[in-house]
Amino acid sequence: MKIRTILTLVMIAIVLAVISLWIGQQAYSWLPPQASAEAQLIDRLFSFLVTLGSFIFLGVAGALTYSIVFQQAGKYDFSDGPHVEGNVPLEIVWTVIPFVLVIWIAGYSYQIYEQMAILGPMEHTHQTTAIAQRASTATGATDMQEQQSTTAIEVYARQWAWEFRYPEQNVTSTELHLPSHQRIKLSLHSEDVLHGFFVPAFRVKQDVIPGRVIDFSFTPIREGQYRLRDSQYSGTYFAAMQADVVVESPDAYQQWLTVSATHPPIAASNQAFDEYHRGQNPLNTGWKTVEPAPPPVVNAPSGQARNL
């Protein structure tokens, strides 16, 4: 290859790299707020993949666009292009480069995964503190000495309601309250079909499988109210199976627990149940559906927290 070609290629690569890096930085803004320690890690990986992906896409698309714009045949030009059947060195290069990229991407993803130490359902190990510590240093919070509750919050999924139980305090709720900056442990239960525990702001997701108890954990780091969505299709009212997640300071969390424990249990409102029993539904087809479970009877039905 001539020096000039090489220089041109290098120039193009640099320009593409700069553009891709910029796009990669934008990627953070495409995601919900980073409300958990995991979110920070995942977003970094995502930004990296967007950068690399942009580079590959722009490279391929750029070459194609150049051809399309500059290499069209004239209207009456019926000649053929050069008879080029291949180029072995080039083919080796473009086999090896993706291969190396794959190893890089997979290696980096693996690293991030290790750091997340997601408690997969099959591995009931307890690598809890490392990430919480890292999270606290990352956000400058130092008061991690808060008593870390060792018992898991129990999450019950059924068609179509979420119910949360805090076994130590004997509190039940349809709103998931979590203390900030602590490694949260959940145990996920399903009473009928597959459901999915998904809080976009935490970037965590886990299917809930009937007949199994699944341990799950993560570390919220940002106070606020988020949305818990069912992520595994579970039948007719699947879309309505959502709940609020409230991340608050450990003090506020303790207070909520104490106050809630004093409330007598009442039936929470439940969208699936309401819709099913709304009598004459104008859209009804008469297709028979699984009947929703009765609304959970809990100390702290959702929406109450803010009215306290």
Partner: protein
């Protein structure tokens, strides 16, 4: 760039056009029996994946289910199924002998051994039915009951198919000159029978030996 890169395969006789030295057209176009045998083997390979899937499922269930056997069931009796196994496996040899006879154009020898194979296959089915009737659990008795009947039943259907194919071939042997053109049907039926046998051996090991 190497524009001279040529096809790797040798092609000497065809460089000049219109040479009559064409590689035999028949081999490429009209070998129907050959095509059918090839297609049948491809089909059997694919069919074996169904069994493979069932076997995998069985292994998963067996190794992960806490209450594997239905209550009141202590295991499966070995004796009768073992006899059944011996009958079925040896029928593979018998069908092979039948095929040799046909090859040697000895139609009556063929029919005799072919019929014997059918008898052995039918005996197997009979034995299976007797066993099923004596079992204290049914199809819906947990994953064990389900997988037991699924595996043996699906295999039994194959044995039944084999016997039906065999009777078809037996019938055809009475059409004068039927096997002069080739023995695809017989060869395929026989291959199918060996296949059904091999599957049974694996199945027997999985269900009866590994308890």
């Amino acid at each position: 760039m190497n524009p001279t890169e040529a096809d790797a395969s040798p092609n000497p006789p065809m460089v000049t056009s219109h040479t009559p030295a064409i590689p035999s057209v028949a081999e490429h176009g009209h070998d129907d029996a050959g095509n059918r045998m090839f297609g049948f083997i491809v089909f059997l390979l694919s069919e074996s994946v169904i069994f493979l899937s069932f076997f995998t499922g069985y292994i998963v269930y067996k190794t992960t289910t806490p209450d594997w056997l239905p209550s009141g069931v202590s295991g499966l009796a070995m004796r009768d199924p073992a006899i059944n196994t011996i009958v079925l496996v040896s029928s593979s040899l018998v069908i092979y002998i039948a095929e040799r006879f046909l090859h040697a154009k000895n139609l009556w020898g063929f029919r005799a051994f072919w019929l014997l194979t059918m008898a052995m296959g039918s005996y197997f089915l009979y034995g299976q039915a007797v066993e099923w009737r004596s079992l204290p659990f049914g199809f819906t008795a947990g994953v064990f009951g389900g997988s037991f009947y699924l595996l043996t039943g699906f295999h039994g259907l194959h044995v039944l198919t084999g016997v039906l194919l065999q009777s078809l071939m037996l019938g055809r042997s009475f059409i004068p000159g039927n096997y002069n053109k080739g023995e695809f049907g017989v060869a395929a039926t026989s291959l199918f029978w060996h296949f059904v046998d091999v599957i049974w051996v694996i199945l027997f090991v999985l269900i009866y030996v590994w308890q």
